[in-house]
Each structure stands twice: as C-alpha cells, then as structure tokens.
Amino acid sequence: MNGNDSMMKPIVKLRGHVGSIFLVGQFDFNAHKAFRQASQELLDNNDITEIEVDFDQVPYLDSSALGMLLLLKERTSSASKGLALVNCRETVRQVLEIACFTKLFNIS
C-alpha cells in the first residue's frame, strides 16, 4: 500500500451553524475511516445545519471517494442537514464532472 504519508487527514471546524471538513491530501479508499469519523462528529452535532466538505488541499480523488460522498449525502439528508462541496480545484472538479456529480451536489 501507499503508506500513511499520502493518507488524507480531515480537520473539522465549526462556524455557527456551519461545520466544515477540511480534507488534506489524496482522497481515496485509505481515507475511509478518518472521513467517516469526521463526518459523524458533524452529523451528531444538533447545532450544525449545514456541512461543507472543503477540497482546497485535495490534489486528487478516486471513485471510492465519490462513493463516500454519496454516502455522506444520504446521511446528511436523513439528518435534515445541508451539504456542499467547496473549493474544488481543477483535477477534483474534473472527476466530479465526469461522474456528473454536479447534478447531485452543491459544488463551488
């Protein structure tokens, strides 16, 4: 495997009703557990109505990352919270566009 250096490390930040997950590094299968933990923290927080996933520090994401986003979408809507993908860079935006996730997600 690629080792831990390339593994994504999410940072959770709260701003009023908005909770952000800042992703750092490659967003792929290895990030599964860390991403799930970070999003659970926000899903469980009743003060948070809006969840943002920040891709500013993500150079690349693969199809299992897309799967994790779909899962998060399902869980945010059943928790009646909003979801947005923000600060998507070119390579990330490209992958999201090819999968037509632009039709399913609020992306900026």
Partner: protein, 403 residues
C-alpha cells in the same frame, strides 16, 4: 521448557569437550562434540543441532570462519551460536557478533552460567518456533485466498467472455490492479445487426468490484438479444444496481450501439472519461462526454435515458476507456490523460490501435504499478457493413426496436 536439545560443543582441547559434554548432560540435554571448526561445519551439513557452543581459536578452521560457513549453509533457519573464549576480550566479543554469533561465554565455563544462557536461548528458540507456525498459517491462508480468487476469476471471465460476441472490428484490453478486475467490456449483436458494446468500471478493485458488475453484464447480454435499445438497457441496469448495491457503490459505464448500415453511433455515457470517434485521417470528429451519473447512483425515477447520436462521414474508430487509463499517473504524478490516449491512437493510423494505446500507457507509467483497473475498447467503423455473410441475421426477423 523441559524440551531436550541437541547441543554441539566445538573445542580442540579434549578435556574441555568432555567437561562441556558432562555439563550439557547434567542440564538434561544431548551433547555432540567436534574438535575443530571444519568438523562442526561438516556435522551441520547433515544434522541440525538446536544450539552450538563454539571455541574461537582452533586448528584447521577457527570458530569465526566456522560460524560464517554454518550461517551460510543454514540460510533461512536460525540456530543460536555461543562463542567460548579464554579471555574476556571485547574485541573477540565484537568479532564474534560480526561473524554471526548470538552470545559469548568466558572459559572456563561454569555450570550455572551455561544453564542460564541455555534457558534464555530456549525462550528465543520457542519464540522462533511460534513465529514459524504463524508464518505457516499465514502462508496457508494466503494460498487458500489465492485459490479462491483464481476460481472466482475463472468464473467471472467465462461469464463475460463466453457471452461476448467475437467481432473482427472490435478489440479490447483489460489490466486489473489486483487479481480480479472491476472493469468489464461486453460485446453483443442486436437482432437489427447493430453492435452493442458496454465498458463498465465498478467502484474499487478486486472481488467486491467484480461482483458489483455481474448484474450489469447479465442484463446487457439478455436485453441486447431481446432487441432493446441501449437507453432501456442502461435504465434497467441502473434500477437493478440501485436496488442491490449499498450506497457508495456504483458502476460507471458507457453503452454504445453501432449501426453500420446507417453509419450511426448512439451513446449513453454515465461516468466514462473517454469516448471519442477518430476518423481515418486522425481527426477527432466527435467526443461523447459523460452526461449522466454512474449506474446505480440515481433512484429509478430520476434516471434519464437520454443518449447522444452521431452519423460518421469518414471511416474511423471509436475509442472508449476507463479512468484507470486516463488517470494513470507516472512517477512525476502526471496523468496519461485523454490526450495521451488520442495521441497514441492517431500514431496507430488504424492499425492495432488497442495495442498501441496499451503500449503508450505502459511507457507513460514506466515502472509505476497500475493502481486502478484499466480497460480499453476500440471499435472500427467502416463504410462497408461489418457483417460477415454467415453472421447475417436470418430473414423474416421482426424489425429492430430502437430506443
């Protein structure tokens, strides 16, 4: 710990050998003796002692050389070797460790100290044995898994390739990241004489990914045979996958229908990065962009059948590949890209395009491994219908239903 060990005592002085042998017997173990390094090496060539007590200065061959020989001879199997020396010399100690010794005793050897060393080395021997057992278990587990994987691979491959129509104008290439591929290529001829091709790429790799593709393969072949159009086939696969796969698992796919008589290509593309028509002059005539989320993502009521159509003017080829090809990154983290695919296709000038693209991809990757399943299909679109006489559909068949 009460296990009886065979301990080889190596010393050129007969009195020392006798003493050591007596000590060893007193401690409940079995002594064997050798009077120089050469004899010790010869003994170890045919028998395997559990431990060696090795004098350093001996005629014929000294203890250091003998140790080196024995270590080489028993590569892969470790036995403790304890050096015996008359003086408490630090240099001897270091030299001994370098030669492959494990411990050091000063002569004359006293019984309690030898007993303590043997006990401590016994613990190591015991640990070694347990490690060996775990290793064997792991190896067995690995072998079983490998066996199961190759069986699954065989089943999946025959499931797909046996069903695939062999068309002389359609060539494909698959490379899986692990034993089983989550990418599949399906080819079938519809009753109308059009060719249906599906390139599907399931989330992840290996067995799970391969299993997720199965419903898609089955539906594709059955529905093509029954005369359904690719939009209807895509809709049906989407419904099936949406109902069976857990959220987060899906199958990106491009479904193509090639009608040679009316020179028409119809494409439904959900998440496949590259699907392009290159004419025989190397010009990019048409790119079919992904217009839908992958199959299994949308609930049936939100699914859109909408396809793209293109009438080709000049003969050419359609090139379709999964993201394992376009996103393959070299050591400098550069992606092969759609450009890499099309460049290689142009250079091929219609001859063996699949092989040329695969070779260009390999050159791009150099020594880097394939991290994702990669698949590629090239369909030749000629002026003449690609039908061979014996493949012609029998007369009197119902008109082709088209979506």
């Amino acid at each position: 710990m009460s296990k009886q060990l065979t301990i080889l005592a190596v010393d050129d002085v007969s009195l020392h050998r006798t003493m050591l042998a007596r000590f060893i017997r007193q401690l409940g173990h079995l002594p064997v003796t050798a009077s120089n390094g050469q004899e010790a090496v010869e003994y170890c060539a045919t028998s395997m002692p559990d431990m060696i007590l090795m004098d350093i200065l001996m005629p014929v061959m000294d203890g250091f050389s003998a140790t080196r020989h024995i270590r080489r001879q028993l590569a892969g199997h470790w036995i403790p070797i304890v050096f015996l020396s008359a003086m408490n010399e630090e240099a001897d100690y270091l030299h001994g460790l370098e030669a492959g010794g494990d411990d050091y005793l000063t002569k004359p050897v006293n019984l309690p100290l030898l007993s303590a060393k043997i006990s401590s080395l016994l613990r190591v021997i015991d640990m070694q044995a347990r490690l060996g057992d775990s290793n064997r278990q792991l190896e067995q587990y690995y072998a079983t898994t490998q066996q199961e994987h190759s069986l699954a691979q065989h089943v999946l491959e025959s499931f797909n390739t046996a069903a695939n129509a062999q068309q002389h104008n359609i060539h494909s290439w698959l490379k899986s990241a692990v034993h089983l591929s989550g990418d599949v290529i399906c080819i079938a001829r519809s009753p109308s004489g059009a060719d249906h091709v599906m390139l599907a790429d399931s989330t992840g790799h290996g067995l799970v990914a391969a299993i997720c593709c199965l419903p898609a393969i089955d539906s594709f072949h059955a529905m093509t045979r029954s005369g359904f159009g690719i939009g209807q086939i895509a809709e049906s696969i989407n419904r099936k996958l949406y109902q069976t796969l857990p959220t987060g698992h899906f199958v990106a796919a491009a479904l193509l229908a090639i009608d040679y008589r009316s020179r028409r290509i119809t494409v439904w593309n959900g998440g496949i990065p590259c699907c392009s028509f290159l004419n025989r002059h190397g010009e990019l005539e048409k790119t079919f962009r992904s217009a839908h989320p992958p199959l299994g993502t949308l609930p049936p009521e939100a699914f859109e059948q909408q396809q793209e159509q293109y009438h080709w003017q000049h003969d050419g080829e359609i090139i379709v590949c999964s993201d394992g090809v376009t996103e393959a990154r070299n050591a400098a983290q550069q992606q092969f890209g759609e450009d890499g695919v099309l460049q290689a296709a142009r250079a091929a000038q219609g001859h063996d395009t699949v092989t040329r693209i695969a070779a260009a991809l390999q050159q791009h990757l150099q020594q880097q491994p394939h991290l994702d399943d990669a698949s590629l299909v090239v369909i030749g679109c000629q002026q003449q219908p690609a039908l061979l006489p014996e493949e012609e559909s029998p007369a009197g068949e119902p008109p082709p239903p088209q979506a």
